[in-house]
Amino acid sequence: MNLGSIALSNLRRRKTRAAFLIAGLLIGIATVVALLTLTSSLTVEAQNNMENYGANILITPQSNAMTLTYGGVTVGNVAVGARELNQADLGKILTIANRKNIAIVAPKLLGAATVKGKTMLLMGVRPDAEFKIKRWWVLDGRPMANDAELVAGSAAARELGLQMGDYVRVGGKRFTVTGLLHETGSQDDNLLLTTLAAAQSLLHKPGRVSMVEVAAQCSNCPIEKIVAQISGVLPGTKVTAMQQVVQSRMHALGQFRSFSLAAAGVVLGIEALVVFLTMMGSVNERTREIGVFRAIGFRRGHVVGLILIEAAVASVLAGLLGYLAGMGTTYVVLPFVAEGSAHVAWAPLLAPGAVLIAVAIGAAASLYPALHASRMDPTEALRAL
């Protein structure tokens, strides 16, 4: 028999108080584990679905043009040597070292086309890539499935009086309207979308593209690195990182992480208070017992050790159970807070971390009660019978 076995006996035979102490710690640890795991899982989800948030790299032809635009109004454009990109070169993008980080390559050819006597902005795209990279587009109907189909932006459809299923001639070629975009509030509202091949044919620019939008999963790799690699395989192009897309998403996640950490701190503080009150209650309830311990020769250090061992044992149990409860909570909650198909991110260090945090809080919150117990006057303690 030693201090450890006395502590275990106390916890084992005073089940209600032990359960209350463990529950107090467990709830806090579970909350912290759930918050941290949720944050981590959402971050991983964001990293894995960066294309959901649009393109983050723009490839345009190298030119000495200076577009004079302010507040959405273009007042002039001085272009020298502007030219399109060669579609055949785009395959080189998928040869870069970080090609695994490339999620979507969406080339497009822009040009003016006459429709019903009006000059409209025509954009040829790869429907699968374009509609994937523009997740925020809401479409009535469906994307174009062949070179004779067309999707109209909301303003363009209004201007031309287009309805779903209408036939319309663009540059002399007949197209079927298969989809109408909802208003986006952007330049996309003015577009007439066709397949890339159809646009190349209409605009007489076979094998050419005006620009390429690329979605790269770049959270774990510097976007600048991918930009440099693409620039390397596509000489004569201008490759620009659209940092704000990534940064705004990461900023949102960073804010959520900060909120989670702050919430975790508050929960841990409350948890420490619960442990403190429970242990103080326990010490006061055990006044007589502590008096006996002191009377039979326990040093103050022995009394402190006994209380802290009890707290540590309860904390280890609470840490382990809290970790499991927190992970379980994450499994239940994650599908409701994640938009996509997110997976719980297992962090191997979180389990020992949870136990360590529980033990640290349990020990810290029990220190004063333990010292209080050790300072009890044995005669007062025994008189309190």
């Binding site: 028999m1 006996s9 002191r294 039979i296 020769g297 025994l382």
Partner: protein, 241 residues
């Protein structure tokens, strides 16, 4: 009985609280040879329990000295007083004061729990002492499953487990019936016969038959020693009714 095992000189204890000071002991003098079974009697408030607490190293005196086996208790540094209690003393309380969540065996092993001994040796020693008090078959029972007399015997076993030369007992038969009280007194007498010095506070005059000496306290001093006390000396009546 030989030597001066306990030597108490000019012992004073003043309790202060609620703005007023109460003198519990006023220059108490007492000398007890080794092997003595000493009874301490007196009215409530005469200083018996305070004397026992100070003798047990639980309560610092306001003045005076207390020596046990030549050790000046209150001259001991730091936590050595706790070590003294562990090595020299066995306490037996009126209320038994067993730890409710420990079995009889575990309660007896309690003083050994902070000693460097093997688990097997601790258990063997505790079982041996439980056997001495006739409770080895109740070793695995919790106090709540034992009678008052059995609990008192467990408390005595706990006091004995460290083989102390001195046992301090504060009204150990106070809550027991007549037959059980006689059993406990016989057990204490048996221990005293083995050479253990016992100082026992009691209100029961019938216990005098077991004592070598009986001192009567009054107003914080040794008033007299039975049977030499004057007739009418208050032995146990409460000071206030």
């Amino acid at each position: 009985m030989s030597g001066r095992f306990i030597e108490i000189s000019a012992l004073e204890k003043v309790f202060t609280g609620e703005g007023k000071a109460v003198a519990a002991l006023r220059g108490l003098e007492l000398s007890v040879p080794e092997g003595t079974f000493l009874g301490v009697m007196g009215q409530s408030g005469s200083g018996k329990s305070t004397l026992l607490a100070i003798l047990g190293g639980l309560c610092h005196p306001s003045a005076g000295t207390v020596c046990v086996d030549g050790i000046d208790l209150y001259g001991l540094p730091g936590e050595r007083l706790a070590d003294f209690r562990r090595e020299y003393l066995g306490f037996v309380f009126q209320a038994h004061n067993l730890v409710a969540y420990l079995t009889a065996l575990e309660n007896v092993m309690l003083p050994l729990s902070v000693k460097r001994m093997s688990r097997v040796a601790k258990r063997a020693r505790a079982l041996d002492v439980l056997d001495q008090v006739g409770l080895v078959d109740r070793a695995d029972h919790l106090p709540s499953a034992m009678s008052g007399g059995e609990q008192e015997r467990v408390a005595i076993a706990r006091a004995l487990v460290n083989e102390p030369p001195l046992i301090l007992a504060d009204e150990p038969t106070g809550s027991l019936d007549t037959d059980t009280s006689a059993e406990i007194m016989a057990l204490l007498k048996h221990l005293n016969d083995q050479g253990i010095t016992i100082v026992m506070v009691t209100h029961n005059p019938e216990n005098q038959q077991f004592f070598h000496r009986t001192v009567v306290l009054r107003d914080g001093r040794v008033d007299c020693e039975l049977p030499a006390c004057e007739a009418g000396t208050p032995l146990y009546r409460p000071a206030r009714v």
